[in-house]
């Protein structure tokens, strides 16, 4: 059974000149033990998708339609209280900015213990024991002493670990990590990604990873959904997508990435900039930047079509793209 199933998710916010459609019909599934990466640039709707699943968008002003099912339970129509219960216990969340996600006036131990006492009804002593275990689990040295420290007393990487400890404290089935390593230095990023992967292996949770970083995706993801202008434009396994993308946007992204392990003489640059979600172009939202665009692309929005080998692409010319990129 699929752990998380999102179907035709749409999210809009009111804007000064009509609604801003941040997410325009996203469907995807995450299984237990699977890592699905949503790859996209700023404004692609990847974070809003995650926030809609987590239930942390304010409705109104946002309007959310479609379906988000966790273990066959529809989340979008649940009353607030039940929804919050599921969000807290079955979905763990890790954000980019740990300083903003943790409460600065309480010790980290207090914050972890509070969750355990409220949700699990643990005694203070049990909660403390478990909090120390969790902080130790995320490889923070001297966990017993460090739980008495406040968030500002930790370095960026250590704070990110605290947030991971907090996120896994109730043993969730699904962990949603929104740019978990973007603010970290590369040596620390490697440590945190390693830790996340290890915890996932041990616990068998599903991991929904939101990121703009192709390198991180290539290192940890099983499957990838590429988002552009609020839609999934390509979906497949990480091997499929990196070895031979089926959408010109993915193709362009891969060609525009400089690599540390070799020197390319010239980078391909995707022309233009990502579109403003308040003013999406007609037809395919990528056509203004696409070298393969034809008249059809200017008028008809390509649906996400299933391709052989269980992958999908939202491009009228996916066969041509695949033919060019497949090695």
């Amino acid at each position: 059974m699929t752990l998380l199933e999102i179907a035709d998710l749409r999210v809009a916010f009111p804007g000064p000149s009509g609604p801003v459609n941040a997410v325009n019909g996203v469907s995807l599934g995450v299984d237990s033990g699977q890592t699905l990466a949503i790859l996209g640039e700023s404004g692609s709707g990847k974070s809003v998708t995650a926030q809609a699943v987590m239930g942390i968008l304010d409705v109104p002003p946002a309007t959310i339609t479609g379906s988000v099912r966790l273990r066959d339970r529809e989340l979008l129509t649940l009353p607030r209280k039940q929804r919050d219960r599921i969000s807290g216990e079955e979905i763990g969340m890790v954000f980019q900015d740990a300083m903003a996600a943790l409460n600065p006036v309480f010790t980290v131990g207090h914050q972890i213990m509070e969750v355990l006492r409220v949700r699990r009804g643990m005694s203070k002593a049990d909660a403390r024991r478990r909090a120390i275990e969790l902080v130790d689990r995320v490889r923070i040295p001297a966990a017993k002493d460090r739980i008495r420290d406040y968030p500002h007393q930790f370095s960026g990487g250590m704070r990110q670990r605290i947030m991971i400890a907090l996120a896994i404290s109730l043993e969730p089935d699904l962990l949603i990590a929104d740019e978990p390593t973007t603010a970290l230095d590369v040596t620390v990023q490697a440590q945190v990604m390693e830790l996340l992967a290890e915890i996932q292996r041990d616990s068998g949770m599903g991991l929904l990873l939101i990121t703009h970083d192709l390198g991180v995706v290539a290192e940890v993801a099983d499957d990838v959904a590429v988002m552009y202008a609020g839609r999934i434009v390509e979906r497949g396994t990480v091997q499929q997508i990196f070895a031979g993308p089926a959408h010109p946007y993915t193709e362009g992204l891969l060609a525009s990435m400089p690599r540390v392990d070799r020197r390319d003489e010239q980078l391909y640059a995707i022309p233009g900039a990502p579109p403003n979600p308040a003013r999406l172009p007609a037809g395919c939202p990528f056509h203004l930047r696409c070298p393969r665009a034809t008249d059809e692309c200017l008028v008809t929005l390509p649906p996400l079509q299933a391709l052989p080998a269980d992958r999908a692409s939202a491009c009228h010319h996916h066969e041509e793209v695949l033919g060019a990129t497949q090695r």
Binding site: E41, S42, S155, G156, G157, M158, D185, V186, T187, V188, Q189, A190, Q191, M193, E194, H212, D213, L214, G215, V216, V217, A218, E219, A221, V238, Q239, F242, A243, G252, L253, L254, S256, M257, P258, R259, V260, D261, R263, D264, Q266, L267, Y268, A269, I270, P271, A273, P274, R289
Partner: protein, 329 residues
């Protein structure tokens, strides 16, 4: 224009210490040794990449190179001038020759001025560079050079541009007075992946056409590799290794360089698990109280007692390394 051996900017033992406010009034809390003895030569028309993690002092270095920050000691030499000793006419001339492009294109352009006003400003500060009547023509050329349309963009305000376009405007402004050196401090790290490549390609093309030299400061090792002729690796205020791009990336000699390179995720899942990764323990130590001897020893897997007592110097040469036990090349 290929880089030459002609040195355009010489940095000699540059040091910047910032005092830290102590807990007790009138008693010093020590100093942050942000930059602690950095030396290098920048050759005409080349790109020197400077990489390092946050807090290693790379932005303080950038600010000193263009004279925005007064060094505690050491010197930045440009021709016969010393950047921080020059006054009056000499200083104005220097400022023309050394320009800077900053990371955040959203805060480095004045929001209340049009692009025309922003680009004319360098000529108002240095009126002798170009006759007043020819300036508008020149800024149109500049916009054209960085890939913007003068007829469309000249009278707009910064907020009407995307991040990538704003960075192009910042580059046009830096180029206005025909500098010899542009210091780029994280010029593409605030941009989306698809836009980064545009700006990187633009910087490369401009160098080819104009022969300007870049000091390219960034934390992204992949971008630095792509754009640099030579690379310097910085750790806690010091350079630990410098060398030609290919040597440094293919055969790093300092353990820190090696660990840094191995930590960069490679966008190729085929090699996953086969790449050997050196996971460094912990975070960089505080620059207020850096470790004795070699500053990297607290995170280094091959540190010995010698490393704790004796600081390894960065020798001269083509590919020097500041380590007692450099890795085999």
């Amino acid at each position: 224009m290929p880089p030459s051996d002609d040195v355009v900017l010489r940095v000699e033992n540059l040091v910047k210490h910032f005092p830290v406010k102590g807990r007790i009034p009138f008693v010093s809390g020590g100093v942050v040794k942000a930059v602690d003895g950095v030396s290098f030569d920048l050759r005409r028309g080349e790109t020197l990449g400077v990489v390092g993690e946050s807090g290693c002092g790379k932005s303080t270095l950038a600010r000193m190179l263009v004279g925005l920050e007064q060094p505690t000691s050491g010197a930045v030499r440009f021709g016969r001038s010393v950047v921080h000793q020059a006054r009056g006419r000499e200083l104005r001339a220097l400022r023309r020759r050394i320009q800077i492009v900053l990371q955040d294109p959203y805060t480095s352009l004045n929001p209340r001025r049009t692009i025309r006003e922003i680009l004319l400003q360098p000529f108002e500060i240095h009126p002798d560079v170009l006759d007043r009547r020819r300036r508008v023509e020149r800024i149109k050329e500049l916009l054209d050079l960085v890939g913007l349309d003068p007829s469309l963009h000249l009278d707009r305000y910064p907020h009407q541009f995307s991040g990538g376009q704003r960075q192009r405007i910042g580059i046009a402004r830096a180029l206005a007075l025909n500098p010899d050196v542009i210091v780029c401090d994280e010029p593409v790290s605030a941009l989306d992946v698809s836009v980064q490549a545009q700006v990187v390609n633009l910087l490369e093309r401009l160098q080819e056409e104009l022969g300007v030299a870049y000091v390219f400061i960034a934390h992204d090792l992949s971008v630095v590799r792509h754009i640099s002729d030579r690379v310097a690796v910085m750790y806690l205020g010091k350079l630990v290794e410098t060398g030609p791009e290919i040597d440094l990336y293919e055969a790093p000699r300092h353990p820190y360089t090696s660990a840094l390179l191995s930590a960069v995720p490679v966008p190729d899942p085929a090699g996953r698990g086969e790449r050997k990764r050196i996971l460094l323990a912990g975070d960089p130590p505080s620059p207020v109280n850096p470790p004795s001897g070699c500053r990297f020893r607290t995170r280094c897997w091959q540190a010995t007692d010698t490393c704790a007592t004796t600081e390894p110097p960065l020798a001269a040469g083509e590919h020097p390394v500041a380590c007692h036990y450099p890795l085999a090349a």
